[in-house]
């Protein structure tokens, strides 16, 4: 297992390198720099700005410098929570540079303030997706071809065709505007977490329920389940003891795409509910052509997704050791 994890960790290095390189050159080669605004900037000011951000240097040098700055130079995860939010500089020595839009803050500070919000939102969403989707799918599999199964299936279809940006406003309309149970936007009280997390998680409830149902149906038709039944094991025991491990496999392998989906969903959710998270920051920075911030966020997302996928892979191998040899 240790060798497996080590190999996978080594494999992520070239992937991250390629992503950084591709994103860096893609953004740098965009015609029109970050300072092309409606307002004409005097050439002296522009020169100073370019010098300040290091944009006056040759591109390869900028690239090498950026690469060195974002490269982790120490490993002290315990210092991550020392300051306000996540301190990437103190814990890993990662310096994402300066934003061209928020001139008084470094990108590290922006990330420190915004990433925890997005992680909290994503965590709740994932919890809802699994907490509702798994039982729903298991119920549908256990009561196959009854009204429970059909209700669960049509509910999953609903989740698939009602994307977050339709679902979100609709939920706001009903629960915030008509019923007045929650605030329609903001991120201050615990109750503010409910609507965004439900919206973000609901789509995945549907998929996960579908996958769980499929996985369990396949496992339940196997011989060892029949053996268990013949030995007189109860339905509950069969579901949770015998079928659980195999039935969960498709769901676990779906967790990777689900995490990626929750991250991209957060762009929209954070915009709808005006949540001060990293997703909204990414979209705004793309609009503002805040190149360093776009780069930094893309890099951060890449690390986050690749890291979480690694966790998912390890879980998969743990559940199904045959995979280790493929």
């Amino acid at each position: 297992m240790v060798r497996f994890i080590a190999r996978r960790l080594l494999e992520t290095i070239p992937v991250l390198l390629i992503i950084v390189t591709a994103a860096f050159f893609m953004i740098r080669l965009v015609p029109g720099g970050p300072f092309t605004t409606e307002r004409a900037v005097s050439p002296e000011v522009l020169k100073n700005l370019n010098a300040y951000y290091g944009l006056d240097r040759p591109l390869p040098e900028q690239y090498a410098r950026y690469l060195w700055n974002v490269c982790p130079k120490k490993f002290a995860p315990w210092r991550l929570f020392e300051g306000d939010g996540f301190d990437l500089k103190a814990s890993f020595g990662v310096d994402l540079g300066y934003s061209t839009k928020y001139t008084n803050r470094t990108i590290n500070e922006i990330v420190a303030a915004k990433l925890p919000v997005s992680l909290e939102l994503g965590g709740w969403a994932l919890l809802i997706a699994l907490g509702v989707g798994l039982p729903l799918g298991m119920l549908a599999a256990a009561r196959r071809n009854t009204w429970v199964d059909y209700t669960a299936s049509s509910f999953s279809m609903l989740g698939i065709c009602l994307p977050a940006f339709v679902m979100g406003p609709l939920l706001v309309l009903v629960f915030a505007i008509y019923l007045g149970w929650f605030a329609s936007s903001g991120w201050y009280f615990p109750s503010d977490r409910v609507l965004p997390a439900v919206t973000l998680g609901l789509v995945y409830v549907a998929y996960i329920a579908r996958l769980t149902r499929g996985g369990f149906l396949e496992v339940l038709s196997q011989d060892y389940i029949r053996t268990a039944r013949a030995k007189g094991a109860g339905e509950l025991r069969i579901m949770f003891r015998h079928a659980l491990r195999g039935g969960l496999l498709p769901v676990i392998s779906y967790l990777g795409p689900a995490i990626a989906g929750i991250i991209s969903g957060s762009f929209v959710i954070e915009t709808i509910f005006q949540i001060p998270g990293l997703g909204r920051e990414f979209v705004t920075s793309a609009f503002n052509r805040d190149q360093p911030l776009v780069l930094g966020t893309v890099l951060l997302y890449a690390v986050l997704i690749i890291g979480l996928n690694l966790v998912v892979d390890v879980m998969q191998v743990w559940l199904n050791p045959r995979l280790k040899f493929e």
Binding site: G32, I160, V268, A286, F287
Partner: protein
């Protein structure tokens, strides 16, 4: 539709002359599809919707830009079936025109992804060896980030060139009403550039199994070039999975486009897609919920229909796990 039409569509030719008509793959598939009521309903809805978007605006003399500022925003009524927006524009007409844009983007970007994905996957699968490994590694790497991040990056990347192209296009007098076309071309490119990945994987997997067959060996013995073998002998045998997956790509693309438009990175005013309409509706929903509910439900119904149709086609053509 007669089964023969379907056969020709899929490239299954009936033997000439008065041969006893067996049931071909196409006929079987068509029969199975027809038995699947949900898929048929989905297909019929999509056909009707496309026809409505193309024909109704001119038949009913609707305009998406005619403003009636005195009228303002009104609830659905006999004259305006789905209400009007802030500027007194008929919402039904706007949904139909938005549907043209959304469906067109869905179709064209899917075809772009189809062409790239099939060629890429087929070449990688047929070549095998190191080329295959490198090509699929590239796919894996792009896969490791959510599509949307790439599309957002590309929309930012393509903004300037596309605006320039747009201005250049409008320089021709006969294209002067094509405002915003540059942006849409950018969307085609950006969405097509990411949606081909899954297709490439599926096609590669299929090619790997097909290329071991004897008729491919025969073709190679006849001295045909690899490209000819790939595109004349292998690709036609992939039609089933490719058709199914393209049907499932269309809703994914429509969703992606609406997602971008919702964020303000997609289709720009004066053109509008369902995404922009939903965005406008979400902003005004407190006073005018019909502006959200109208486009939202049409959008959801379209996605549902296309997904049902795709699933039905998959079952009918008996393709296992098209999404792996």
């Amino acid at each position: 539709m007669k089964p023969g039409v379907f056969n020709r569509l899929f490239g299954f030719r009936r033997p000439p002359g008065n041969v006893e008509i067996g049931s071909s793959l196409g006929t079987d598939a068509w029969r199975r599809l027809r038995a699947n009521r949900a898929a048929m309903a989905g297909g019929i809805f999509v056909l009707l919707l496309t026809a409505a978007c193309l024909l109704l605006p001119s038949l009913l003399n609707l305009s998406y830009s005619d403003q009636d500022l005195a009228l303002g925003s009104t609830a659905p009524s006999a004259t305006h079936w789905l209400g009007t927006d802030m500027h007194g524009r008929d919402q039904f007409a706007r949904i139909l025109y938005g549907g043209r844009i959304s469906l067109m983007i869905g179709l064209v970007a899917s075809i772009v992804s189809l062409v790239i994905g099939v060629s890429y996957g087929a070449i990688a699968g047929y070549a095998g060896g190191r080329l295959d490994r490198v090509m699929m590694r590239i796919v894996d790497i792009i896969y490791s980030l959510p599509f949307i991040i790439f599309v957002i990056l590309m929309m930012v990347f393509l903004k300037e060139p596309m605006d320039r192209l747009d201005a250049w296009l409008r320089g021709f007098s006969w294209l002067s009403n094509l405002q915003g076309a540059g942006r849409i071309l950018g969307l085609f490119a950006a969405i097509g550039a990411v949606e081909w990945l899954t297709m490439a994987r599926i096609v590669r997997g299929q090619v790997l199994s097909i290329k071991k067959m004897e008729y491919i060996e025969a073709a190679r013995c006849l001295g045909f070039s690899p490209l000819r073998i790939i595109f004349k002998h292998i690709v036609p045998n992939l039609l089933g999975p490719v058709i199914v997956f393209t049907t499932l790509t269309i809703p994914a693309v429509i969703l992606l486009e609406s997602f971008l438009s919702f964020l303000g990175l997609g289709v720009d005013a004066p053109l509008s897609s369902w995404g922009t309409l939903i965005k406008d509706g979400a902003e005004k929903m407190e006073d005018a919920p019909w502006l959200l509910i109208g486009p939202g439900s049409i959008f959801a119904l379209t996605l549902l229909s296309l997904n049902l149709l795709g699933d039905g086609l998959r079952d009918a053509l008996d393709i296992r796990s098209g999404k792996d």
